[in-house]
Amino acid sequence: MENLDAARLQMAFTLIFHIVFACIGMVMPFFMVVSHYKWLKTRNQVYLTLTKAWQKGVAIFFVTGAVSGTALSFELGLLWPEFMKHAGPIIGMPFSLEGAAFFVEAIALGFYLYGWNKLPEKFHWVTGIIIGLSGVASGILVVAANGWMNAPTGFDYIDGKFTNIDPVQAMLNPAWFTQALHMTLAAFTATGFAVAGIHAYQVYKKRKIELHTKAFKIALTFAAVAAILQPISGDISAKDIAERQPVKLAAMEAHYHTEKGAPLYVGGIVNEETQEVSYKIALPGMLSFLAFGDFDAEVKGLNDFPEDERPNVPMVHYAFQIMVGIGSLLFLVGILYFVSLKKKKWLNNNKYWLLFVLVAPLGFIALEAGWIVTEVGRQPWIIHKIMRTKDAVTPMPGIVVSFYTYIVVYLTLSVAVTWLMLRQIKVLNHSNH
């Protein structure tokens, strides 16, 4: 394996894990404080049991997210030293603020976890809110740094040198808002459906039905709202990419030839040789409309771009199809959930619960697919139109060794974390509240 490929795979692999940990660590505190609020208001013991069960989840995911995040902060430099040498000072601002937000989160978490019966009740609850807010702030800041790689601003690039650096402008790059909005909603959708699915499974198995139904409702309310809002954010993102990174948009749609009134391809198999997409559903004029709000607008095809400036088209296209497909499905499931609140009878039907068990992992699959679209779609650039990924990689040979080490460590960790969570649920089901 080439050093560049090994480094890219290692980065992708660690990010895929970190994203899951970070999203759960960022969203679950909100479920926890809602349950905590209901406990304070109703004094129903079930909510207290649930809050305490969820806080363990928060603690475990916060730590795993924190250590995998620490690993990433080092890996950025270890794998991409040339990138960090130039980009580090420019995008340092969101990273330093993220460090601060993360610190606030750790402090609040210390207060929250250890503050039961020791801190004033309201103050204790507020520390839970702070955990959630600072977690979301961290997430947005990190995404802002990623946004800069897609839309580099805040410097002049003259003769291979970065001068006249403006870190604030770099942080508020044109991509930060669309990406952060899309990612925050995705985090709530993915975590909400996953957590709700776990509790739905318990109801399906008829274990502690009251507790798990309450848990399900809290998690799914967040998830459904986010899933219903997500298409709007997706539309904003598509229009933004059409402007800024037309080649990425073309790859997402496997759109090879520039044309007016371009059709939108749903699904399909990409043939790179013939530049054809077979077995697709083509919606005439829709791509032009979604990208520019005009059915007749011209959409640039991949052939308008030099061959060495195009990403891996099939991978980006398939990932995009998966993301949009799952997104649409979860949008419908979200609506179905709100309807079910009016139709109490449905809750007695086990198929209702089975549905939510089945969709539980989909949110995270869509979220990972979305990151593949944005990251693979950016290639061959590490900084869009400025620095190529292959010029940023470490000169140290043998990265493949560390890649395999990371695979072993992370896979072991995820097995262990899953096992630990199963044990938590088991104990929860045997507890008396």
Partner: protein
């Protein structure tokens, strides 16, 4: 503003060495304890470190982020030449963090605790040794600077900078220092009647720190190490080291008296002087390579970057430090004594 950034860099380094160090040290103390004492230590560690241990380790992230923003050249040399020890540190940090959570938050207490304990103890020893090796490598004079690293052999470029007796001695020194800090901290936190365990440990650790420190200096002097030569001929560094050694006397008195605030303050002050000596001896040249030193002040990011970073650090510090102080203070006053009262167990 560059000095504000430098202050925060040194400040985070100091806090990481003291807080993170005591945290690593707890695992080392546990590793070198009898089976019965291991149980006592495990309980005490959880009580003391539980609420603050995440915060203890965020300092290293702050440190890395300041380095890459403000001193990109410096950071670049570090991540390329010291790729291997840094990767080992990372794996250590990961395994240790996970082991800590597992052994304290696992809903079921059974045989798997043994595995978590082993993971925790071993990674608590290995991680600080390699952190020390990284610092030792930066000052060892073995890092090669070249425009084209592919002209060097793999050994010269990626192994020799850190795999040498001097760097390894610095690594051992740092691990001993962690154990020392932790023992002093644990004296004040142990249940009554158990203090003697940690008093003995801190005495042993102090001797090890002293011996390894002396050997490192002596060895460096013998091999004509640039850093050590500068160190021993620098009156400022010598005064700092002497002060640090002299502080052992009041420290010992305070331990005997059972005064935890002063005994911890003295131990913290000792580390402060050691660090001040190490950084001050060659300031502003902190990386020493085969072809000379790299000046920290002359290799910083552009002024506009430093200005924004300085302001962010001041604001961040103003938000974080009072909160952190309050956290530490609250949980010193509020004792979490037994497992029954603890929602997490």
């Amino acid at each position: 503003m560059l000095y504000v950034v430098l202050f925060f860099l040194a400040f985070s380094l100091y806090l990481y060495v003291v807080l993170g160090g005591a945290d690593y040290g707890a695992g080392i103390v546990e590793l070198f304890s009898s089976e019965e004492n291991q149980k006592i230590t495990k309980k005490t560690i959880y009580r003391v470190m539980g609420p603050v241990w995440e915060a203890n380790h965020i300092w290293v992230i702050i440190l890395i982020v300041i380095l890459w923003i403000a001193f990109p050249e410096y950071y670049n040399i570090m991540v390329i030449s010291l790729h291997i020890p840094l990767t080992i540190v990372l794996l250590g940090v990961t395994l240790r963090g996970v082991a800590f959570v597992f052994r304290h938050y696992d809903a079921v207490i059974d045989k798997s605790q043994k595995l978590y304990d082993q993971m925790f103890k071993v990674s608590s020893l290995i991680t600080p040794i390699f952190l020390g090796i990284v610092f030792g490598a930066l000052i060892s004079g073995n890092i090669k600077i070249t425009d084209d690293i592919s002209t060097l052999t793999f050994y010269d470029a990626f192994i020799a900078p850190w795999f040498n007796a001097f760097s390894i001695l610095v690594g051992l020194f740092f691990a001993a220092l962690c154990a020392f800090l932790s023992s002093v901290l644990l004296i004040g936190e142990s249940e009554s009647g158990k203090e003697n365990i940690y008093i003995r440990k801190s005495a042993i650790a102090a001797i090890v720190v002293f011996v390894v420190g002396f050997v490192t200096l002596g060895y460096g002097y013998l091999i004509d190490n640039v850093f050590i030569n500068g160190f021993v001929s620098n009156p400022f560094a010598l005064i700092c080291v002497t002060l640090s050694a002299v502080l052992l006397i009041p420290l010992w008195k305070m331990i005997r008296k059972g005064n935890k605030v002063w005994s911890r303050s003295f131990a913290g002050l000792q580390v402060f002087f050691i660090l001040l000596a190490a950084l001050g001896a060659h300031f502003p040249d902190i990386i020493i390579t085969t072809n000379g030193s790299i000046n920290l002040l002359e290799n910083s990011a552009p002024e506009s970057v430093i200005k924004v970073l300085g302001i962010s650090l001041i604001i961040g510090g103003a938000v974080i430090l009072p909160g952190l102080f309050h956290l530490l203070k609250s949980f010193k006053m509020i004792k979490i004594l037994d497992r029954d009262n603890n929602p997490l167990i």
